[in-house]
């Protein structure tokens, strides 16, 4: 770490001790935050990766199906491809909403307690 520079004003409080981190990690409050995050993010990640792989496999091995024309020159392949865009936008929005409503308040409560009252 720097020893020759003046301490920057935003350096803030020193980090809590390892014991405090272990205590918080084992607390019920943190357990809720962790499970609220993991039970949302992990299955969703598996979900969008499977959906993407499905699309890749269809492109590879289901050419006839993908070439089916739906209206005008718009075929299934194009609609599914645009569908990947749409689901990406939707998942990003959905996760952000979940994070703002369920994760941020819990995280901020723990953070301000740990940084404020050591």
């Amino acid at each position: 770490m720097a020893t020759d520079a003046p301490p920057p004003s935003k350096a803030g409080t020193p980090l809590p001790s390892t014991e405090e981190f272990v205590q918080v990690q084992e607390s019920a409050e943190f357990g809720e935050l962790r499970s609220s995050y993991r039970s949302f993010a992990f299955p969703l990640t598996v979900g969008f990766i499977v959906w993407y792989l499905l699309y890749v496999l269809l492109s590879n091995y289901a050419g006839d199906f993908m070439g089916t024309k739906l209206f005008g020159n718009i075929n299934v392949a194009l609609v599914l491809g645009l569908g990947q865009f749409l689901t990406t936008f939707l998942i990003a929005w959905w996760y952000s909403r979940h994070a703002a409503a369920k994760l941020d308040p819990k995280a901020e409560a723990i953070k301000s307690r740990m940084e404020g009252g050591a």
Binding site: M1, A2, T3, D4, A5, P8, A11, G12, L15, P16, T18, E19, F21, V22, V24, Q25, F30, L33, R34, A41, L44, T45, F48, I49, Y52, L53, Y55, V56, L57, S59, N60, G63, M66, G67, F71, G72, N73, I74, N75, A77, L78, G81, L82, Q84, F85, T88, F89, I91, A92, Y95, S96, A99, L103, D104, A107, E108, I110, K111, M114, E115
Partner: protein
């Protein structure tokens, strides 16, 4: 010189003064920004992280500017123009990948690291070996990516300016290299971020304009546009279906799966993308920046559809191929045709889009140079060589020297590789990022038992497997499109190693952990886990 290149050169050289003027205006503007940013760069957090005061929107723009390389602008538009639907497949992987960054990586990384990817990987591990591994992987990924961009810049700018001599191409590579050294050594992260923001705005405005003009030609009837593209391509309905590029054989199909995996899992392991999340104050703003990036990048890729199919509909395929075999000049040619081939408007549009492409390259190479020199200075110099005893001043000095060194190496390699086909190196960078970096990041953040040995096995194992497989693939030898077409020592059939190397990276991280004799540091994991989820002590 082949007649093809002379044709393009003849077409371009008429517009050369205008293109050069626009290039010069962009370079001058970015240099002013760089000097201004340099004056405000005082401590290490300014140099590495731009002072951490960018807003979510600003960083989202900069992330987009860092990510949308010339490959994604010119390459995807060109691939769509020549191969139709299969060109579009690329952009889908590039976009979906951002969800991995959003859901699993950006926020924990922002909360628990300071300057580099190595900060998070080494947090709970023995510092020196893991920092060395993280630094090595960062520099390897960034140099591969950089080399592809530099060589691409040489080809592209030569084509746009009608320069055909070897000396001219080397001069372009050297110019790009010197500019990126100046941006990074003087402006640091702050300067680089502003350059990327300006570039993102130019790129999006340019693409919007072309998209609007294309759609106007077809009265905003997308079905007509697609129909005309399919007819004009001479390939008919298959042009709008998957398979023209990747559907040829069962090997190319496997290759496509491999590429898809590398794209989706690689983005969240690219060091030059990861360090962008340190430029914002909190995890919440990091999340906002990814959301902006997803919106901007997604919109941009939707526009490349219009550009690619527009080029296919309005320009004869022979003319696109004659200008550049891979279709890389389809977008600039489209600009010329939309404005009118013999009119001033055509010349102005062509020059503007060419200048945007040049800006794109400069912003991306600056980001890559910064990522690798930061990792050298912070991970390897300060924490391995100096064992954490380097002062902030020494560290910044090391970062600036590293920038000059990496810049010089890239100029040299870029000049040597100017006639090799190095486009495959970008896909390789994604594959290494997905095989070496992503497994280690995810295990570090989420798996309590993960150990130093596990981290080293996944980084080095993923790295060596990915690079090794590419070395013995058709990317390097054995085909007319290879880097060295005249020799053949390839035995691995796929061009992209991801299908093998990504599972190997994950597997080795797990195996190294369960076979290691040391106990994981539970206290350190408590620190990392609590910090990564709550932001306690983030600075």
């Amino acid at each position: 010189m082949s007649p093809a290149i002379t044709l393009a050169a003849g077409e371009a050289s008429e517009h050369r003064p205008l293109i050069i003027t626009l290039f010069a205006v962009f370079v001058a503007a970015t240099l002013v920004i760089t000097v201004w940013a340099g004056r405000q760069t005082k401590d290490a957090s300014d140099f590495y992280a731009g002072g951490r005061q960018f807003t979510g929107f600003q960083n989202g723009l900069a992330v987009s500017g860092d990510y949308m390389s010339a490959a994604s602008f010119l390459g995807i538009a060109g691939a769509i123009a020549l191969f139709g639907y299969d060109g579009f497949l690329y952009s889908i992987g590039f976009l979906v990948a951002w969800l991995v960054a959003l859901l699993l990586v950006a926020e924990p990384l922002r909360n628990s690291g300071r300057y580099t990817m190595g900060d998070v990987l080494a947090y709970r591990m023995r510092q020196r070996p893991v920092r060395t591994a993280a630094g090595t992987s960062t520099i390897v990924v960034s140099i591969f990516y950089l080399l592809a961009q530099m060589a691409g810049a040489g080809v592209l700018v030569s084509l746009l300016l009608g320069i055909t001599s070897d000396g001219g191409k080397i001069g372009i590579v050297a110019l790009v290299g010197v500019l990126m050294i100046v941006y990074v050594t003087i402006g640091g992260m702050k300067g680089t971020t502003w350059v990327q923001m300006v570039k993102a705005v130019l790129l999006i405005v340019g693409a919007l304009l072309l998209t609007f003009l294309v759609l106007l030609k077809f009265n905003f009837n997308i079905s007509d546009l697609l129909g005309k593209a399919a007819d004009n391509s001479g390939k008919g309905a298959p042009f709008l279906e998957p398979g023209l590029k990747y559907g040829a054989t069962s090997t190319t199909k496997l290759d496509f799966i491999s590429l898809g995996m590398a794209l989706v899992l690689g983005t969240a392991g690219l060091p030059h993308i990861l360090i962008r999340f340190y430029t914002v104050p909190t995890a919440k703003t990091a999340r906002k920046s990814v959301n902006w990036a997803i919106g901007l990048i997604g919109t941009f890729y939707l526009m490349t559809l219009a550009l690619g199919f527009g080029a296919a509909a309005l320009i004869k395929p022979d003319e696109i191929i004659a200008s550049n075999k891979a279709g890389n000049t389809a977008a600039p040619l489209l600009a010329l045709h939309l404005g009118g081939v013999d009119s001033n408007w055509g010349a102005i549009l062509l020059a503007s889009i060419s200048a945007v492409a040049f800006a794109t390259i400069l912003a991306v190479v600056a980001g890559l140079t910064l990522a690798s020199s930061s990792s050298f200075a912070h991970d390897i110099y300060a924490n391995v060589i100096k064992k954490g005893q380097a002062s902030e001043k020494q560290e910044m000095k090391a970062a600036r020297y590293a920038t000059v060194g990496i810049g010089a190496v890239s100029i040299l390699l870029g000049a040597l590789a100017r006639d090799l086909n190095v486009a495959g190196l970008v896909a390789l960078a994604f594959a290494v990022a997905a095989s070496a970096n992503l497994p280690t990041i995810l295990y570090s953040l989420f798996w309590k038992r993960f150990t130093t040995q596990g981290a080293l096995w996944s980084i080095y194992g993923g790295l060596v497997t990915a690079v090794g497989l590419v070395l013995f693939s058709p990317v390097v030898s054995g085909k007319p499109t290879s880097m060295f077409p005249d020799v053949d020592f390839h035995w691995f059939a796929l061009e992209n190693p991801g299908l093998i190397s990504i599972p190997v990276g994950f597997l080795l991280g797990w195996l190294g952990t369960i076979l290691s004799k040391e106990e994981p540091d539970a206290g350190k994991y408590a620190e990392l886990e609590v910090r990564s989820l709550t932001g306690t002590g983030a600075h």
